[in-house]
């Protein structure tokens, strides 16, 4: 016999009394989807929305089902909103952890065109049979052409939670990092955390206690019970006062323990101004903490029950419902059904009833029902039904009626009850995340039906000892006096672990109502049919249902990690805080296995999403990373430098003059250097001094060439290979004196090659007596290049720079124009060229002197692009262009630089490996387009035939390509299969622009093949 009793005024509302966290003397105005609403200081956005009867807070991700608040804390899966606007817009913020402030503006997510009316709800009706577990994998494989035009647009439109901030805008807030060291850090400021902190601090240890919420005490002030003979809240206040008075204790609220990492590293995420943006200062602070011991006192999270319609707005965790009543004085409904498998949910019924909310019925799934709390409920006149379950909550934008059935049955409705809210409790799971982050193992507790930390398998620190201890409900116990005893023990254990004398202070004594054991209920009712299971949600945020996990198990996804990925269970931003255990239980049941055998998925930091701003901290904009500047940086900047990042350096790409394009400026510089005089700031080139009795022997191992026989005063171009034989750097080496060499490296290579040398010296040839010093920044180095190079130096006066006194590939110390200088006669352009090093402090003055004296010789500075073109015209290779970590000297025609006299050098053995000697290797050639145009950079040459994927075979690629203003045509270098044997052949390079570029294979030296210009 069905009895339906109709009621009208379904609504969530503010109660006349209650609300220990709110201040009713002041009102706050905020908006939700543009609608103005009122709240109180102390409200969260969630409690304020409930007070305004805004039960519907969002649409679900896949089916766009209407969703309401389920929880009251950070585990909330549904109430994700976009907060703020413009430069301060942030998606996916939890309404339950967002403290209300004047002017707060929130928007709901995942709906179109509006929250109230959403077109996507059709997904639920039309596609719910299709959008099952693994539907991406099944749907989007065939036919292939559908991917680009049908599947991809569909997925892109429906994928992602919330809306990304405008990419053109920069976050207007600031963030910072903070370093902290402690002996014991306690995460969680509930009664367990407070007790543990008190015990640990009494030992004298330096203690940090953090609480993620704005208020202390956790659940105890809501759940009741007395501690040391006083109300929980009074005990919390007293204990806080005691801790605040201790010099060795630091307390921080609004700070979450985000992650536990190796050897006592802990991240704390402090939210400084989210609750009051008018405050100014950094918004979030990331605490980078090193501690000897960590106590996790993170409490437990209540589990939902899996019944049909458990996602209808108004269905809420029982504990959350009493939080809303006690903490904020709001009720989600006027007539509530409570469904439970444990005694704790009776507290919700009793608290609600006391607050004037009608309890329609308590459905206790246990056949024999509850204990003392159940008796109290009955005595209070509440209807309590044992062995009963929810068959179904009717679909809609909020709860209207609840069908009741036997828990042991298949969902046959025996009664329908009108109600506007449902409180559910499936038992409690300890928050084990931080325990597990760094390897702490779990054990299954049959009595409580939950995983709890196994203290015998704790995370291990550097000394092989445990460094994480759990306290309170995080350890497993739920009853208050057991919680406090466990917490005091945890405080003592941690203090001892940190090296402080054991202080087993008496834990506070507590009194609560005794409880009858819970009974696991993984499906409600136990034998629910498919129609019910298809409406029983496990993961609200990712829309995963009981039927999805069962399907995955049937399809062979037996490992919990596979099922997780196949169904996306627990993969949303809440990381399955509510869904994981329920999902595991369904999987275990379907597999006919036990839950502990199925195990859990891996818990990874952060516990709760933290802002990208906090991760970045101060490192953004100009201080993102250090900028290296040469001594002439400012001159370049005021003389038109078009900056190019080269490692951490900034180098002028070219110097722009009035109205010039970059290409015009480059053409001008290149031409002028060949015809008159160019100056290049070469200060960034690496300069390593290698000194000691064995320096020559050492360099013979480092370079492929012989360096030990280099004469003092002479220079030699050298190649460096890795032990694998690949070219890693090049540069000119100068012999300074008997036991000193100066090695030039590439700009990007200075630190890397310095480290490379140190590594071999320290770890392989530690008997060699050699020092390496990186003196790159000690010198300003200027390349004076062009037919007039000698003239300008002679005009400045000083040392003899004539052909006879300073021949090509030699160097001299001396005086130039009054500057103490070292002049190298080396050339990377093929021109008459001197590279002159002066002290860094004199770099700008020397540059000025050269510019002044060079006026009559047509001096112009040139940038890195000019440098590149000048070297490419000469066929000189560039590390990083012609090399990519797979290229050997032989590929580049540099066999002449591989010493045959030496028994050994790095790379020598590797060059004998079969693939290195393969005649089909791609080798360096010059490339000239048939029509004189510029080849696209990185383009591949195609040959005959196709590969296994039906793509044309490639036979080479472009490594450097430029327009040469001296030759008035495009020039390029490339690596081509058997290239040097194919001179004159024309090969094709398909461009990404759809054109085919035809280029002739030529000698890579395009300009002054005989080197007459540099030997003058």
């Amino acid at each position: 016999m069905l009895s339906v009793c109709e009621r009208s005024a379904d609504m969530s509302t503010r109660l006349a009394k209650q609300g220990r966290l709110i201040d009713r003397t002041k009102q706050i105005v905020f908006t939700f989807n543009g609608r103005s609403m009122l709240g109180y200081p102390g409200d969260t956005l969630a409690s304020a929305l409930l007070a305004n009867d805004q039960m519907l807070v969002g649409r679900s991700f896949k089916y766009h089902r209407p969703r309401g608040l389920v929880a009251s804390g950070s585990e909330e899966p549904n109430a994700l909103v976009g907060l703020g606007a413009g430069e301060r817009f942030e998606p996916n913020q939890r309404a339950t952890t967002t403290e209300l402030f004047e002017g707060l503006a929130a928007q709901s997510q995942n709906h179109w065109p509006s929250l109230e009316f959403d077109v996507g709800i059709l997904n639920s009706k039309l596609f719910s049979r299709v959008l099952t577990a693994g539907f991406y994998y099944k749907m989007f494989i065939h036919p292939k052409p559908f991917w680009k035009h049908v599947y991809e647009p569909f997925i892109r439109q429906s994928a992602g939670l919330g809306k990304a901030p405008d990419k053109e805008l920069k976050d207007a807030d600031t963030y910072e990092h903070f370093y902290f060291f402690a002996d014991v850090v306690i995460v969680g400021g509930g009664v367990a955390g407070l007790q543990a902190a008190k015990t640990a601090a009494a030992s004298g240890a330096k203690v940090l206690l953090m609480e993620q919420n704005a208020h202390w005490g956790g659940r105890a002030p809501v759940d009741g019970g007395t501690i040391d003979g006083m109300e929980a809240e009074a005990w919390v206040t007293k204990t806080l006062d005691e801790l605040r008075a201790m010099e060795n204790v630091t307390l921080r609220d609004r700070m979450m323990g985000a992650g536990v990492y190796d050897h006592g590293y802990l991240l704390g995420y402090e939210r400084l101004t989210d609750h009051d943006p008018s405050k100014g200062g950094p918004r979030h602070r990331l605490w980078r903490i090193r501690t000897k011991q960590i106590i996790t006192a993170c409490g437990a999270i209540e589990r939902p029950l899996s019944f049909a319609g458990n996602d209808v707005p108004g269905v809420m965790l029982a504990s959350a419902m009493r939080d809303y009543v006690v903490n904020w004085g709001v009720t989600p409904g006027k007539r509530v059904v409570v469904a439970t498998n444990n005694d704790d949910a009776y507290r919700t019924a009793l608290i609600l009833q006391k607050a004037g909310v009608e309890i329609a019925c308590i459905l206790d799934a246990r056949r024999l029902g509850g204990g003392a709390l159940a008796a109290e409920a009955r005595a209070a006149g509440i209807r309590v039904e044992d062995g009963r379950a929810i068959a179904k909550v009717a679909d809609g934008k909020r709860v209207t009626k609840v069908a009741i059935c036997l828990q042991d049955g298949d969902g046959q409705s025996i009664e329908e009850i009108a109600a506007d809210a449902v409180a559910m409790s499936g038992g409690w799971s300890p928050v084990v995340h931080l325990w597990s982050h760094c390897g702490g193992k779990l054990t299954w507790d049959d009595t409580q039906a939950h995983f709890r930390p196994d203290p015998t398998r704790a995370p291990i620190s550097h000394d092989g000892k445990a460094f994480v201890v759990t306290a309170g409900t995080s350890s497993g116990p739920l009853e208050l006096s057991a919680v406090l005893t466990d917490a005091a023990q945890a405080g003592a254990t941690a203090a001892q672990g940190a090296g402080f004398p054991a202080q087993t202070a008496d834990p506070a004594s507590a009194e609560t109502m005794p409880e009858t054991p819970m009974e696991p209920v993984w499906l409600m009712p136990a034998n629910a049919d498919i129609q019910h299971r298809m409406k029983s949600w496990l993961d609200y945020q990712n829309d995963v249902k009981v039927s999805d996990v069962q399907l995955a198990a049937r399809e062979g996804f037996e490992s919990v990690e596979h099922t997780k990925r196949y169904t996306t269970l627990g993969m949303a931003t809440d990381q399955g805080k509510l869904s994981n255990i329920n999902g595991l239980a369904i999987l275990a049941d379907t597999l006919g296995s036990e839950i502990p055998q199925v195990g859990t998925t891996t818990f990874r930091p952060p516990y709760h999403p933290i802002s990208m701003g906090a991760i970045g901290g101060e490192a953004r904009g100009d201080v993102f990373q250090p900028l290296r500047k040469t001594p002439m940086y400012d001159w370049h900047d005021t003389n038109g430098a078009d900056w190019e990042p080269v490692g951490h350096w900034r180098r002028p790409f070219t110097f722009l003059r009035d109205g010039e394009t970059v290409q015009e400026a480059v053409n001008r510089e290149v031409k002028n250097t060949r015809e008159n005089l160019g100056l290049l700031d070469a200060s960034t080139l690496g300069k390593l001094v290698v000194k000691g009795p064995d320096a020559g022997k050492f360099l013979d191992m480092m370079y492929t060439n012989m360096m030990s026989n280099l004469k003092i005063g002479k220079c030699r171009y050298g190649l460096m290979c890795s032990e694998n034989g690949f070219l890693m750097d090049d540069g000119v080496v100068a012999r300074v004196d008997d036991d000193t060499w100066l090695c030039h490296t590439t700009t990007g290579g200075a630190d890397r090659i310095h480290a490379h040398m140190e590594e071999w010296l320290q770890t392989e040839w530690w008997d060699m007596q050699v020092y390496v010093a990186n003196v790159t920044e000690q010198f300003a180095q200027i390349a004076v290049v062009g037919p007039n190079a000698r003239k300008v130096l002679e005009k400045l006066g000083g040392m003899d720079v004539s052909k006879e006194a300073l021949p090509f590939m030699e160097w001299r110390d001396g005086d130039i124009g009054g500057f103490k200088a070292r002049a190298y006669r080396i050339s990377f352009s093929g021109e008459l060229s001197y590279e002159i090093a002066v002290a860094a402090s004199e770099g700008q003055a020397f540059w000025d002197a050269l510019m002044e004296a060079g006026k009559e010789f047509g001096v112009m500075p040139y940038g890195t692009e000019g440098l590149h073109i000048l070297r490419a015209e000469k066929g000189f290779i560039m590390i990083g262009d012609e090399t990519d970590g797979t290229v050997i000297p032989q590929d580049l025609g540099l066999n002449w630089a591989l010493s045959k006299k030496k028994d050994d050098y790095l790379g020598k053995r590797a060059h004998l490996r079969s693939h290195m000697a393969d005649p089909d290797r791609w080798k360096l050639v010059g490339l000239e387009t048939v029509d004189g145009s510029v080849l696209p950079d990185g383009a591949y040459a195609v040959g005959n035939g196709v590969n296994g994927n039906g793509q044309k075979n490639t036979i080479g690629r472009v490594t450097s390509t430029y327009f040469s203003s001296n030759l008035n045509r495009g020039i390029a270098m490339g690596l081509v299969k058997q290239g040097p044997k194919r001179m004159g052949e024309v090969i094709s390079f398909p461009g990404t622009d759809g054109k085919i570029y035809e280029a002739k294979i030529v000698d890579p030296v395009f300009y002054d093949k005989d080197g007459e210009k540099q030997n003058v």
Binding site: D262, H462, A910
Partner: protein, 122 residues
């Protein structure tokens, strides 16, 4: 983030100060070596679940390379020692034997373990 004590400067260096350098105690094979030896030297590495010997450099500190003996499962550090040696110090090997009886890593092994160096009696 690991903390390793630099055996040169004594600093308890955090991982951000350190550079990982892969497996320790590699024997270099150069010209004259067989293809197989050279291949193994370049590419073959231990990947143990348990005791491991590694190279680290105190790169944002004193700049020195050193060796660390570490458990890859628990992250316990058995000790650090100079890079200028072909074998770990005996005291360290003994300590590892105490903590991980029966351990073995390449040619290093628990000398006290019953199977170590035992002749096959059959």
């Amino acid at each position: 983030m690991l903390i390793l004590e630099c055996p040169y400067c004594g600093v308890h260096a955090e991982e951000t100060e350190l550079q990982a350098g892969g497996e320790a105690h590699l024997k270099r094979f150069g010209p004259g070596s067989s293809d197989e030896d050279f291949h193994d030297y370049l590419f073959m590495r231990e990947n143990p679940k348990g005791v491991h010997f590694e190279r680290w450099r105190h790169v944002n500190g004193c700049g020195k390379w050193f060796h660390a003996a570490r458990c890859t499962v628990t992250l316990e550090v058995f000790g650090t020692y100079t890079a200028q040696t072909g074998t770990p110090p005996q005291a360290l090997l003994d300590e590892i034997s105490t903590k991980r009886p029966g351990w073995t890593w390449r040619e290093f092994t628990d000398a006290s373990a019953p199977h170590a160096g035992a002749e096959d009696a059959s």
